[in-house]
């Protein structure tokens, strides 16, 4: 068993004659916050789906939480959490009901459920809103609850697909506080974002261009290598070289 939580070796995925993911290799260590960047259509979503065991690679190998993404997809799903901007919570259920429902999916016992939901409500400072329907809450709260729910079963890795779209700078940073906390407890965080300052909060990032990983490393080192001040500049200079358009 390797020490990596996410490991991809020459991973390729084709759709017809279109190569969405082109021979990528990467390793992510336990407790690492890994930023997975790329322009729209660069192949991020496809790669993420392979890691989550939702899509089979055409060739190459991916291991997540010690399981093979191709043959042991079901085991992977027990070990990961997933949160995307699009699917988050059931709006008509209350905060508590959502937490119980999602925790129930992962087979937590009744007692654990109770403890967990109390703990989450307490940690997020939601005591006064725990019995409110999720629809009534501000977006920033929904995002934080989504994250709490995605990590309720203490997964080894949590995949976050553009988790912070549309919220104000303070709420965005509060969200990242939660990410830091989880990473500090040993959880690996694999995150995509369009906010380049968020990329700089990551331990390491990779930038995908045309299905392949163009660069990978610590944000500060990447900036230094490219002789620029911010990741945004690195990103723009790389993505400008992209040849393909559209998803």
């Amino acid at each position: 068993m390797s020490e990596w939580v996410i490991e991809a070796e020459q991973l390729t995925r084709r759709f017809g004659d279109f190569t969405a993911v082109d021979n990528i290799s990467l390793q992510v260590a336990p407790g690492e916050i890994f930023g997975f960047l790329g322009a729209n259509g660069a192949g991020k979503t496809t790669a993420m789906r392979i890691f989550c065991g939702l899509l089979e690679p055409t060739s190459g190998r991916a291991r997540v939480a010690g399981f093979d993404a191709m043959s042991e997809a079901e085991k992977i799903k027990q070990q990961i959490g997933y949160m995307s901007q699009k699917f988050s919570l059931y709006g008509k259920l209350t905060v508590k009901e959502n937490i119980r429902f999602f925790a129930g999916i992962y087979g937590l016992s009744r007692r654990e459920l109770k403890e967990k939901s109390a703990e989450i409500v307490d940690r997020l400072g939601l005591a006064s809103s725990a019995d409110k329907q999720v629809d009534e809450l501000p977006l920033g709260w929904k995002q934080r609850i989504s994250f709490a729910v995605a990590t309720v079963h203490k997964p080894k890795v949590v995949f976050l697909d553009e988790p912070t779209g549309g919220v104000d700078p303070i709420v965005r940073r509060q969200f990242w506080d939660m990410i830091y906390e989880s990473a500090a407890s040993g959880m690996t965080v694999f995150v995509t974002t369009h906010y380049m300052d968020e990329a700089e909060y990551c331990d390491r990032i990779s930038i995908m261009v045309d299905g392949a990983i163009a660069v990978m490393g610590k944000p500060a080192e990447l900036c230094a290598q490219h002789g620029v001040a911010t990741i945004e500049d690195v990103f723009v200079s790389l993505a400008r070289k992209a040849t393909r358009q559209g998803d």
């Binding site: 977006l139 920033g140 779209g165 549309g166 303070i170 700089e200 945004e232 990103f235 998803d247």
Partner: protein, 327 residues
């Protein structure tokens, strides 16, 4: 209404209020501002700040509860038909026909406005050239950035004098965003008034003037430069080996007013009597952080927003405090 007001403002909003019956909390409360002709005006704020409601009132799609608004001197309620003739509108959701091709979408919207693509091609040529290679591709199969460009073309094809764009860059990658703002800049230069909303604070730099919107109120409005200049708060950037630990320690530091992560650094605002950066630096060393760099920086737009929110939350401890979470 005076003739001068008509001639120099493209959009004029006075005391606008709107609340939705559902939850009763106001989407807009007593909003007033003006946008000059030929100005590129940014409405900046998070989801739920009231940006979409405001734009829909200005594009005559919604009626305000109170207050008045006019576009090019025309009242949004009385003269809604005339306004619909002169404005271009791009809603927040991708609002083209996914099952029509790029060229078919453009041609259709030209027809809707009683014109043809040929007649006004010069208006969109700059943008449309990038779409030309995909002219037969279905709009639904374009990438996010390309969709936005096509939607912009469709909103421009009838030569509107005022353009309303609701979050055109949300969910679009930084490169496409940069391109998109480049286009808006060139359109502004050609004389079109543009009112654009965005949740991305960094896009403020591209606007002539901006209004920061939060909870249906304008919390600040000015040019970016003036806004930054008037933000008199001393801000420090802190950089060190273990960023999260430093952040937590800084928040626990009694001299800290507030501290937030900004990329690889933290932006720190201290109490006046806290002994300045030297004391903070000493405190961090004490906590075992070793080499920590603290330097004074020019605040950016997010610093301004956070500062304003901090001021507000001091006034309204109740709800705002819980939103801020940390103090």
């Amino acid at each position: 209404m005076s003739a001068t007001a008509q001639s120099d403002s493209a959009v004029r909003v006075e005391g606008l209020c709107k609340s939705y019956v559902k939850d009763g909390s106001p989407a807009l409360s007593d909003l007033s501002f003006e946008v000059g002709k030929g100005e590129l005006f940014g409405l900046i704020g998070p989801d739920g700040a009231g940006k979409t409601t405001l734009i829909r009132i200005l594009t005559t799609l919604l009626l305000a509860d109170r207050g008045t608004a006019s576009v090019q001197g025309l009242d949004v309620v009385k003269d809604f038909r005339s306004i619909r003739r002169l404005v271009g509108y791009m809603p927040g959701r991708f609002s083209l026909y996914q099952d029509l091709s790029v060229a078919e979408n453009l041609a259709f919207f030209a027809t809707v406005f009683g014109t043809t693509v040929e007649a006004n091609y010069h208006l969109v040529a700059d943008i449309y050239q990038q779409l030309e290679p995909f002219r037969d591709r279905l709009a639904g199969k374009l990438s996010g950035g390309m969709k936005q460009k096509l939607a912009l073309c469709c909103a421009l094809i009838h030569a509107p004098s005022v353009l309303f764009l609701d979050e055109p860059t949300t969910g679009v990658d930084p490169v496409s965003r940069k391109d998109f703002w480049g286009m808006l800049g060139r359109l502004r230069d050609s004389g079109i008034t543009i009112l654009v909303s965005t949740p991305y604070m960094d896009e403020a730099a591209r606007c002539d003037r901006i209004a920061l919107l939060q909870h249906g109120k304008i919390i600040a409005m000015d040019s970016l430069a003036a806004m930054l200049a008037s933000h008199a708060t001393e801000t420090f950037a802190v950089r060190g080996e273990r960023p999260f630990a430093i952040l937590q320690d800084l928040r626990a530091y009694p001299g800290t007013r507030y501290c937030f992560a900004f990329g690889q650094e933290h932006h720190l605002v201290l109490h006046h009597d806290a002994g300045g950066p030297a004391a903070a630096s000493a405190y961090l060393r004490e906590r075992g952080h070793g080499e920590v760099g603290i330097r004074r920086i020019e605040p950016n737009i997010e610093d301004v927003f956070i500062g304003l929110m901090h001021e507000q939350s001091k006034e309204l401890r109740g709800q705002a405090a819980s939103e801020l979470g940390h103090e």
